[in-house]
Amino acid sequence: MSTAVPRDAPTPDEAGFRSWMAVRGPVIRRKAYLMTGDWYAADDLAQDVLVTVYSRWTRVARGSNVDAYANRVLVGKYVDSARRPWRRETAVETPHDRADASATAAFDAVEAADSRLLQALGELTPEHRAVVVLRFTDDLSVDEIAHSLDIPAGTVKSRLSRALDALRTALGPGVTTPADLEDQP
């Protein structure tokens, strides 16, 4: 017979992480959604990112910018997963839980509201899509994105510029680019 063991009080580490997750988790989930274009994939991605952040929480919280680290993990995992389809072999043991018709309808309804932007983002490469999502959801500057992703600022500028061009084309003349981005090379 198994006996339920009362859960110990969270350690300071765990409490700190849970506090951070309560505030930043939904933001990470939203960014994951804008990158993947799908709430199911976004939830899986966000969960993976948060697991990684917590697995290194002691060091991350002590010395560096937690959000920058989380962004790096998020983009790394997203780009990695987006590149995966090439000749991939995956063992599927259980049917996807999206078989629930009411849940599917709810998800589809939410995604339909964002479909125009998601469709435009879908035209971008994963790297370009990640940069533009960070730029617009976190309001990060080019330098901040470069620092977050550990890539040169010039690479960020170039990706951002191409992504904006592609978005302008995809979304049509009815959508304007913020004035501060017109200066981007």
């Binding site: 849970r18 991350v60 063992a91 939410v110 890539i151």
Partner: protein
Amino acid sequence: MSPDLKDVFDDAGRTPPTGRGYDADEIVRRGGRIRTRRRVLTGAATLGVAAVVVGGSIALIGQPLNRGTAIQPGDGPSASPTGVSPSSSGEPTSDATTDSAPTPSPTWTWCRADDVTLTLSDGGAAAGTAYSVIMIKAKPGITCKVEGFAYVEATRAVGDAIGPAAPSGESSGYHPVIGSTVASFLVGISNTDNYDADVCLPVKATSLNVALNMSSLGTNPIDQRIRVPLPDGVTVCSGNVSAFGNQLTVTPIVTGPDGQ
């Protein structure tokens, strides 16, 4: 008035569907397991290094690695390494030592698959994980740099990837330069016996696909992969065992031949 692109972004993804999301308790459980495993591995590494020093065999670590076989990009599985012998250096450490890092020149470019040869050799085993050292050597006349982590995944003989790629760790911004010096890293493959066979669904991998500088080159891995045959093959999980830890892991790329 036309909507601003920022406004379009601001409105998107604001109303996530209810009934699903990430599970905070599961995140803490899984993250906690990884932390525990890392502490165990770090402890094992410390003990392993101490044992090497005490045993007076530290000189082995400094020996040039000439026991593997150089692998060219695009090599097939028939080019199997020979003469592999275990290293006495044991476990990897989780962090790269960067004190002796050369200062990268802005003119050095990111290494591409054609710029390097990879050499696989045995890196020992500990705590249910077998380690291999992958040494990266620049071809004559080439000097180039590499990102902190390589993209690594196991493949079948026909080239199909098996299971998830090894997760990249936290990049320190340290980019080893190879030319006159070599760089290396460890690949850990956890024993399939560590997992429930029904979840693991073990299959035999015959090689690793390795790609360098994935982020900086911004290329599809199919263009940059280097196939590294595994001597005699290695049994890996084809099922998703990520809930129990990563079966495939990599350490940061460091300067030197022994992956540490």
